[in-house]
């Protein structure tokens, strides 16, 4: 089935399939072993396995019938105070089905719950704890009100290491009969920025054109410039060559189809790899941020980026 989405197809089923969060996974495994799950709060950036881990826990605890005792509410669901008081509370109250000892409610992106709704959750978490355990996920735990944090064991999910990303992508490539070159893996790591979802999507997109995947195909399919190209752009500007740097920018945007936002994002990352005095770096980051802001406010991206290059060309000569 070619049209299947791979992030779904390769969603981990068991904790052992979740890569790169080993300390956390090890602790979680001991909960499963003792059949004792506290309420959990997972915090971390997108695409690092929070949802996958929650689902894996349910599957390991409940086996094939896991869906009976697992319910999920994500950001697209209605999540005002009424839902907490009716739907969630009712699920928490009713006994688990089959042989299970308790049920699990997974509140994905719980930071999107209004504070009112979070407040309404507190006593439900306590009162029906024998019936029902909660798993909450969020980007930053500070967005979850203190009384809820107080009721959970908090686990932090980190951006995935390049190794973990490489390993998982190679695993998928093997299953799909793909051949990913080493530079292809490097490119995947670069575009993923620690987010497995981005990595897998890039692999799947590239696979639609060729079963053999190289850096070029990854960069092309994700509208990303090669980091070396961005570096060359910056070095030429910082070397005072405004005209040639502007030509390079043209190539990236016109020929390669990068948006102004894409360019700004990549310039931001590349700045840290360029050798320059610390103070200069700080002031350039600020100028870049200003330009980023203006572009998102609707300013013309070409004009703004030209202005950036002009600024860098003067800065470089100082």
């Amino acid at each position: 089935m070619k049209e299947e989405i791979w992030i779904e197809k390769y969603r981990p089923y068991r904790l052992e399939d979740v890569v790169g969060q080993s300390d956390t996974i090890e602790r979680l495994r001991s909960y499963i072993k003792t059949n004792n799950l506290p309420h959990l709060l997972f915090s971390g950036p997108p695409g690092v396995g929070k949802t996958a881990t929650a689902v894996s826990i349910a599957r390991e605890l409940f086996g094939d019938d896991w869906r009976e005792n697992f319910t999920e509410l994500n950001a697209s669901d209605e999540r005002g105070i009424d839902v907490v008081r009716t739907k969630i509370k009712n699920f928490a109250k009713t006994s688990p089905i089959g042989g299970a000892d308790f049920k699990i409610i997974f509140l994905d992106e719980a930071d999107a719950l209004t504070p009112d709704a979070q407040s309404a959750l507190r006593r439900t978490m306590e009162r029906y704890t024998n019936n029902c355990r909660f798993i909450l996920s969020c980007n930053y735990s500070s967005k979850i009100i203190e009384p809820i944090q107080s009721r959970c064991a908090v686990y932090r999910f980190r951006p995935l290491s390049d190794d973990a990303i490489g390993k998982r992508c190679r695993h998928i490539a093997e299953k799909e009969g793909l051949d990913i070159a080493d530079d292809g893996i490097e490119a995947i790591k670069y575009v993923a920025e620690g987010d497995m979802r981005k990595a897998i999507n890039a692999v799947q997109a590239a696979s639609m054109f060729d079963t053999s995947i190289h850096a070029d195909s990854i960069y092309r399919i994700t509208a990303t410039a090669h980091p070396e190209e961005i570096k060359a752009l910056l070095e030429s500007a910082l070397g005072g060559n405004f005209v040639s740097s502007r030509k390079k920018l043209d190539d990236l945007m016109v020929l390669r189809g990068l948006s102004g936002e894409d360019v700004v994002g990549q310039v931001y990352r590349s700045l840290f790899d360029i050798d320059m005095p610390a103070r200069k770096l700080v002031s350039i980051v600020d100028v870049l941020g200003e330009i980023d802001f203006r572009i998102t406010e609707g300013a013309d991206e070409r004009i703004q980026l030209d202005a950036l290059l002009a600024h860098l060309s003067i800065e470089g000569e100082k």
Binding site: Y31, T34, N35, N36, H39, T86, R127, C152, F293
Partner: protein, 489 residues
């Protein structure tokens, strides 16, 4: 396999004597209880207020158990409109004294979390219930001042504090003993430290650490991934002592803090860290504040536009920007401290959420997209609220609570004036409700299984009466929209 129980629930105190810490407040609670043994006291209700996990809910239930009082609890997980409160708490609190000697204790937990529209008129109803009650009532809240002054004036106010480490330690030790867990040196101290006076999360962390183990050591304490003061201080040291902007920036990645929170820590410590030896202002401070204010500008833009992509510039400027700002080295140890506002951070955070809540209310009221409400309309409502002629009307039509009024009028705390506006607007709301008795007709979502009261009160209902209600509901438009006010433009 049997399910291991949640320790926080398993060891929930059932007697007042088992509630640790907070001796004075507990004594005040006992004193109030004594009064009930000699009839109906002047203050029929108490408010237990204080931070999370310090024993408020436990103390209330323990008191009821000890006295053999029947307990009726309502909390934020229940819908609490005026009608429901009156039906459940009101009826229970006016028990005929002839039916028996045994009393009923009414516990209204999370009383500060009454929802503006879903719990319409609830706060007001509580006051009425208290006035008419002949049974003991306990209100529980995190934030005492979120309750109206009228309500407060009818209650004995008892404040709970966070629990000091010296009281948390023995509590944890006792649990370890009961569970047969051996503790290495420093483990319990570490757990206690991490949780900042919140005994519930200390117990949670202890259980998480001890799962599947008979002996625990400091290294096992991995579950408490809440940022500790130490982990933040480590990062701040890189910011203030180091000179490498990238290194300082990367260090912040290890924390679970948004740049919104981090900038508070940097701001709090910057002056002290960069002052000259003679305590004079150094040019480093000026340079650092330049970058910090730039960082703050980005934070403001994110707040206005919800464009989180800009957070990275704030994150870099507040860390790296501070690190490179020094020309001189500021060697020698200078104490770091959490932001003085830090303790109020809970409030600050809710302030941010509050803005969204208010914007949503305004949006709903004026039929405007929420984003547009942020700037112009919020400002205008601020002006209206400052004007005596319009204030009450404005508060009424948006169903603002006290904090929201304070926020819109840019007041740092809830002043008497604000409280008055609030109370008057609730009064108005209440009058409205009397007009459309409707509230009582909207039968609450039934809470099967849990509350015996619901069934108790619904059983006696006359079916004819119910039909009549349904009919009425159809003719009557929604009460919230029925009255035209100044603000229905």
């Amino acid at each position: 396999m049997t399910i291991a129980q949640d320790w926080a629930e398993k060891y929930r105190p059932t007697k007042l004597a088992d509630v640790v810490g907070n001796n004075k407040p507990l004594q005040a609670l006992r004193d109030w209880k004594e009064e009930w043994e000699h009839g109906v006291p002047e203050k029929k209700a108490v408010i237990l207020s204080g931070p999370a996990g310090v024993g408020k809910t436990s103390a209330a239930h323990a008191l009821g158990n000890e006295m053999g009082w029947e307990i009726i609890e309502m909390n934020a997980s229940d819908q609490r409109t005026a009608g429901i409160i009156e039906k459940v708490a009101g009826s229970a609190s006016r028990m005929s004294t002839l039916t028996g000697i045994q009393k009923r204790l009414i516990i209204l937990d999370e009383a500060d979390n009454m929802h503006g529209s879903a719990d319409r008129g609830g706060t007001r109803a509580i006051t009425n219930v208290i006035k008419k009650s002949n049974q003991p009532i306990i209100l529980i809240a995190n934030d005492l001042y979120a309750l109206s002054s009228t309500l407060r004036s009818h209650c004995v106010n008892i404040k709970f504090n966070s629990i000091p480490q010296r009281s948390i330690l023995p509590a944890l030790k006792k649990i370890c003993k009961m569970e047969g867990i051996m503790c290495g040196t420093g483990v319990l101290e570490k757990i206690a430290e991490n949780t900042g006076g919140d005994l519930r999360s200390a117990i949670k962390d202890l259980q998480a650490t001890a799962t599947d183990k008979k002996e625990i050591e400091v290294v096992d304490v991995t579950t408490a991934e809440r940022d500790t003061k130490e982990s933040i201080f480590k990062v701040l040291t890189k910011v203030f002592k180091g000179r490498e902007p990238i290194e300082a920036y990367r260090a912040t990645f290890s924390l679970d803090e948004t740049p919104e929170d981090l900038i508070q820590w940097v701001d709090e410590n910057l002056p002290n860290q960069y002052l000259n030896k003679d305590e004079k202002l150094s040019e480093d401070i000026t340079a650092a504040y330049h970058n910090l204010s730039r960082a703050d500008t980005y934070l403001g833009r994110v707040r206005l536009r919800q464009n989180y992509g800009l957070w990275r510039y704030a994150g870099f400027l507040l860390s790296g920007g501070t690190a490179v700002a020094k020309k001189h080295s500021h060697s020698g140890f200078r104490k770091l401290q959490p932001p003085s506002m830090w303790r109020r951070m809970g409030q600050l955070r809710s302030k941010r959420n509050m803005r969204d809540n208010i914007a949503a209310k305004v949006g709903l009221h004026c039929n405007e997209p929420i984003r547009d409400c942020r700037i112009d309309l919020l400002r205008m409502y601020g002006l209206l609220l400052k004007n005596e002629d319009y204030a009450v009307d404005a508060a009424y039509s948006l169903e603002l609570d006290v904090d929201e009024i304070a926020y819109l009028t840019e007041s740092k705390r809830v002043t008497k004036k604000i409280q008055k506006i609030y109370d008057a607007s609730r009064e108005m709301m209440h009058e409205k409700e009397d007009e459309d008795i409707d509230v009582f007709m909207h039968a609450p979502e039934k809470d099967r299984g849990q509350s015996t009261l619901d069934s108790m009160f619904s059983e006696g209902k006359d079916p004819a009466e119910e039909n009549q209600m349904d009919g009425k509901e159809k003719d009557n438009p929604k009460p919230a929209k029925s009255q035209k006010t100044l603000f229905d433009f």
